[in-house]
């Protein structure tokens, strides 16, 4: 057959494309469980990192559950379900289910964050002390922010600047403000912005505001008994002031 005839070329391409498609789909499907496992592992690591418990064993330290908009624990959602929600966090939030990861040893709670940066998705995990107010740690990540500018949100320096800040002013959820030009010294709800990364940082600020507001009722309802909170708060505050 003439190798340069149109018929030959069309048949050739069709056969080639079908073969390649079959090969790729079979591989992708058969490797999917392993890949999902890896992604899950990365998410668990990020949650532990936010809590400042990198060395700990996820299964023995973290209690995962989900709450509704009123802050009540949703019955029937297993720890595994809560983890699975992280794979479609936007959808889970839209459905009114909000996953929470609680450290059973020190009572820190980690809630997941999802939002938009300048170019692509940004996401993260924020850990609050058991007063549900003081930030103990945050892990941020991004899909495609500019290296050296927006991508700096995942550096320890930027993430570290959140630690010790509080998200409530009285009973109002004020979240964290990221101030261009530098936050005033000692401001409880503000941190410094990153130069050259205005849009990404605004994305982080909006993400915090939106995602934390979903948990507003939960944060208020789950605060430990009054006296205990008082003392806890005070010790925490003095510590962070030091």
């Amino acid at each position: 057959m003439n190798k340069n005839s149109n018929t030959y070329i069309i048949i050739y391409t069709v056969v080639m494309v079908v073969l390649v498609a079959v090969l790729l789909s079979v591989t992708a499907l058969s490797l999917q469980p392993l890949q999902k496992e890896n992604e899950l592992g990365a998410k668990k690591t990020a949650i532990l990192e936010a809590m400042g418990a990198q060395e700990a064993d996820y299964a023995s330290v973290v209690k995962a559950y989900a709450v509704d908009a009123e802050g009540n624990t949703i019955e029937g959602v297993t720890a595994d379900d809560a983890l699975q929600m992280l794979f479609g966090l936007k959808g889970a939030f839209d459905a009114g289910t909000y996953p929470v990861f609680e450290n059973v040893e020190n009572g820190y709670v980690v809630v997941p964050l999802t939002g938009k940066g300048l170019w692509d998705d940004i996401w993260g995990y924020i850990a609050l002390d058991k007063d549900k107010n003081t930030i103990k740690g945050i892990v941020l990540d991004h899909a495609g922010e500019t290296p050296g500018l927006g991508a700096e949100i995942k550096t320890d320096k930027f993430e570290g600047s959140f630690v010790g800040k509080t998200i409530y002013e009285g009973s109002d959820l004020v979240s964290i403000e990221i101030v261009k030009g530098g936050a005033p010294e000692g401001a409880p709800h503000a941190i410094d912005a990153l130069s050259g990364a205005t849009k990404t940082v605004q994305g982080v600020q909006a993400m915090l505001k939106t995602c934390l507001s979903y948990y507003d009722a939960f944060f208020k309802s789950k605060v430990a008994p009054a006296e205990e909170v008082e003392t806890e708060c005070n010790t925490e505050n003095t510590e962070s002031n030091e």
């Binding site: 190798k3 340069n4 030959y8 070329i9 050739y12 391409t13 080639m16 494309v17 390649v20 090969l23 790729l24 591989t27 992708a28 490797l31 392993l34 890949q35 890896n38 992604e39 592992g41 990365a42």
Partner: protein, 217 residues
Amino acid sequence: MSKNIEEKEPLFSAKNMASLTNPFNKNNPVLVQILGICSALAVTVQLKPAVVMALSVTVVTAFSNLIMSLMRNSIPARIRIIVQLVVIATLVILVDQFLKAFVYDVSVQLSVYVGLIITNCIIMGRVEAFALANKPWPSLLDGIGNGLGYGMILVIIGFVRELFGSGCLWGYKVIPEWCYEHGYVNNGLMLFPPMALILVGFIIWIQRSRNKDLQEK
């Protein structure tokens, strides 16, 4: 690289061995053909991603050469380049999927660069220049040789950059603490891509001064 070999030649004949070993020396894809520089800058901050990248590219060059050589008599000349792209892209996606499944942390580190193996000129260059005109076995050897020749440069650069840039090798601290106490500091420039380019320049310089026949008049 003659096209018509009538009698059967031994598997490891001098000519076949030459297509395997030449890329390490006088025909190195990075140093002599100046191909694949882009990824040599991008993934060599640390040794580990450099090694994984080297192996990934070797797998892709080897198999794309082999497959294209097997297909060489059936490919319609008019869609030759498209067929090459489909084969190479398929192999790269396979590599990417395997990395995600078995070495997840490295695949996160390599991020987009795995996908960009498709655009690594070495691969298409070898397919066009060698595989389409040679039998499968020499083509496979040529692919492996070129992949490893490229990888060799990546590993050398990755070694130097990680050692002097962060004082580590393969993620482990190798420069002892007392050096830092006596005023040694890591070279921050090593962590930036321009330093990789300068290192490639040094290696090219060394290689050309040792091989007189590579020097342009």
